[in-house]
Symmetry: D2
Subunit: 282 residues, 4 copies
């Protein structure tokens, strides 16, 4: 159909992150899970790594419900220096332990050039957070890493700026970049952010990179995770990232948007008919 | 599930537009079509009424493809006074003719308190455009009309401001208010607006009013209409409003976001599995 | 100096509101006060007309302190229908009484096409509020009025959209349009709006119309009125609009941003050295 | 006056960056220039260091016109990896040479934790750019440096977020933090950013830290630098940062907003009456 052809303006100065004669679609393999192909990838886990018990419980719960990748933050970007900053290397070790217990590959954030080697030693996917989207030194450094990188969109970034940041990583030689929409800042005050679902079809028209959508940070509201995760998949996203905590009320970070294991199972069941309706599979 | 309970702050000063003991869900009946219940309502047609031939062709095309309500603008809000301002009353007559030919009820915009009686004489649903969302004189006037009113969200309006405007209509005695998300203004420049899909679950949690989503204005981009219409329905919207023109290249207004009849039929077919997946029907 | 030449893009489709061979600068005369020339115009008074005593006190206070034009709202655009909506025609009569007492010309808002004739019968300047900036029916109607019109900028409007709205008024035959910047919506939450001081030099480069700046609505914060009024004049604004209430704590509307008569006198004294520094006079 | 008391909400979790019993106003001394007291500080120079000739010419020109601090970027944050990234250490050496020639202290950006020691070895003030405002690792590192830090506001940052970032630096032990407003992102498209002049009075009410305003990045438009610099000083800013290039047409970066030496001299002369009107001095 004519309608299917891209009618968006293609950024002229971006070379590697846009579709081209060589690459129409990048599929990234992580421990047997494909990100970017027919499958819908589900990344789930707590906002931050807090303890061994919490991580093991969370890892088992998200695996049971069907998630393929475990998330958890060891280095946390916080608005104030007095907030919990994450367990650091101890957190990375707990993530590795949870991977060993469940077999799930792990994704975790790296915030500093000086920590890239350390985090790369533990993680299966390196995450760059929204606040560091244009931390160009960090982008160059993870562009020389040997692990895939998931680049979250900045809170007020345009699509072209975001792709320009992916270009920084790609141009250093790392071909495995995953984009992640996590909500943009708008005037709305009853939600934490406004999740831009159009990121999925727009990125797919312009770029060959896979696009994940994070309805947890994107709304900041537990009850909105399910409908927005459905919307993400209906719009063509290659996966979703969802915060799950064994005990959301006691979470050290972002409890209001975290699902309990039971709620996550419910959401996963709700997603299945949508995944099928768009001819994809978990 | 706990998750299903509303965890959003309920605006305290809004009385009629929020859920309450008497009303949990408003269903509005328009010529046999229900807006707000199990059905997904599809409103379709050209941005502006241009000629008899155009309207009859458009009406037949959208009916054939399964739309239940015909849209078309006779009074057009344009950024500059030199742009086509709509056919006015002649346009209303052509809409009435298209209704007679196809049986489809019609929705059309009213821009001025002085035109409310005139437009009410022709239309089945009165539309208030985004730029007039806080035109309080107009809201009060349509609040005294006997036809349902579809209130589009202002380009930078918060949910509470939008519900406050619905309250203006409701408090004048008109119980039939439909809300319509049509894209908010963001920093993005490759699309006309950013469609806020979260409007569907958020409005459903706070308010009893039905919520329609307009992916045509919401993206301004033909190729994004299908994925974003799917996302809207997956997120729980009560319907979609889609621009269809017999010949988009020759449209006097918004051609870049209008679908041809063939494209619209393709989109409608694409929506069906999603409608089924969320247990609703056309 | 090269620097003084306009290096901003001139909107191509706007004809009357931009500088042209015939008009480089419009000066509007209102009861002996010039708006747009060497003088700096000061419009002051309460947000809304509340009573005879309040208006007479306010009018005397602002005249004593050096204001040349009296403001006061008889028709108030409010977010909710249950808030005080203004005294209507009674308010207009009180404004006329205050004018008679003090000799100050009056500016007041008109919100509906149906009220234009009424308001025109009382006011010296018709004000169009931010929420009605793109109420095109209202713009056309005041474009046929015989009084000057002050057009406030919409909360999220671009300069070109704003000038397009001025064009609506001008193209109907009314040459006396004053622009008023009153703060734009941003992500900031500790102020009501963000006052865009650059409106003064930008409008002066592109347009021949006078530009007034409103630091009261523009900040929503009493203590910010003085520094922002100074900034407005330093940047070249043709005047300021300031809210003054005989008793701000008891104001029915916008008390937090209203100055007491003493505070207003203090602000006026603070403005004088700046007015002199930019070679203008009150 | 009552009006002078702060009526803005004070962020409760910020301890060091807000006014307190011990500190009402921080004055930072840099090579005999005071930032934050009676003086108005002028920082000027090219966007990026390009060559010895360019830097020496720029340094002499800005000194002659009255600037007290020389700016120039050796490490440049650019949207795309293919744009000029700055001369790096060679650029730092050229800055040091220009300082030697003119006696002007130098301010330059540091983008990476790994470069902090290097840049600290050359610069008199370390600059953190807008894109790195929430690069918390970098903030902690410069918080342990022995040179003052100028922290630019992020493009969409609120005041509290900005102060939270200053808190990161202060809490590591560096008391010399200067804040710099450089324009926020808005919907306006004819300017690069919208300069938020209210940053000056707001920061002065809440915080003891000095506040500089950058009308060059804040507008992106040469002709707007003078009126907006005047506005900044009228509103109480402790200084301005202005881009000056010996030959703006040939600048490798940001030429459209750079002033020539003659234009800069003209601007400086224009600022003098405003500086005097607010009882300050260069």
């Amino acid at each position: 159909m004519v309608m299917q052809v891209c009618d968006l303006p293609i950024p002229k100065k971006i070379r590697l992150a846009i579709k081209n004669d060589e690459i129409q679609r990048t599929i990234i393999k992580v421990n047997g899970t494909n990100i970017g192909g027919e499958h819908v990838a589900v990344m789930a886990g707590p906002c931050s790594v807090e303890s061994e018990e919490q991580m093991i419980q969370a890892a088992r719960a998200v695996k049971d419900a069907g998630a393929q990748i475990l998330r958890g933050g060891a280095f946390k970007p916080r608005t104030l220096p007095y907030s919990f900053q994450g367990l650091g290397e101890e957190g990375l070790e707990l993530l590795a332990l949870a991977r060993k217990e469940t077999g799930l590959p792990i994704i975790t954030e790296v915030m500093s050039t000086e920590d890239v080697d350390l985090v790369e030693g533990y993680a299966d996917i390196l995450q760059i957070g929204a606040r560091n989207m244009q931390n160009f030194s960090l982008l160059k450094k993870v562009g020389r890493a040997s692990k895939p990188v998931m680049l979250k969109r900045g809170m007020s970034a345009t699509f072209n700026e975001w792709l320009g940041c992916a270009e920084y990583i790609l141009s250093e030689g790392n071909p495995d970049v995953i984009l992640c929409e996590r909500g943009i800042r708008t005037f709305e005050q009853i939600t934490r952010n406004t999740l831009d679902i159009s990121a999925a079809p727009i990125i797919h028209q312009i770029s060959h990179l896979p696009i994940i959508i994070d309805p947890s940070h994107g709304t900041g509201t537990r009850s909105l995770v399910e409908p927005m995760a459905k919307a993400a998949i209906a719009a063509g996203a290659d996966g979703v990232m969802i915060e799950v905590h064994p005990n959301p009320e006691e979470a050290l970070c972002d409890g209001a948007q975290s699902l309990s294991p039971e709620e996550f199972k419910y959401v996963m069941n709700g997603l299945k008919p949508i995944i099928k309706a768009v001819n994809r599979r978990l």
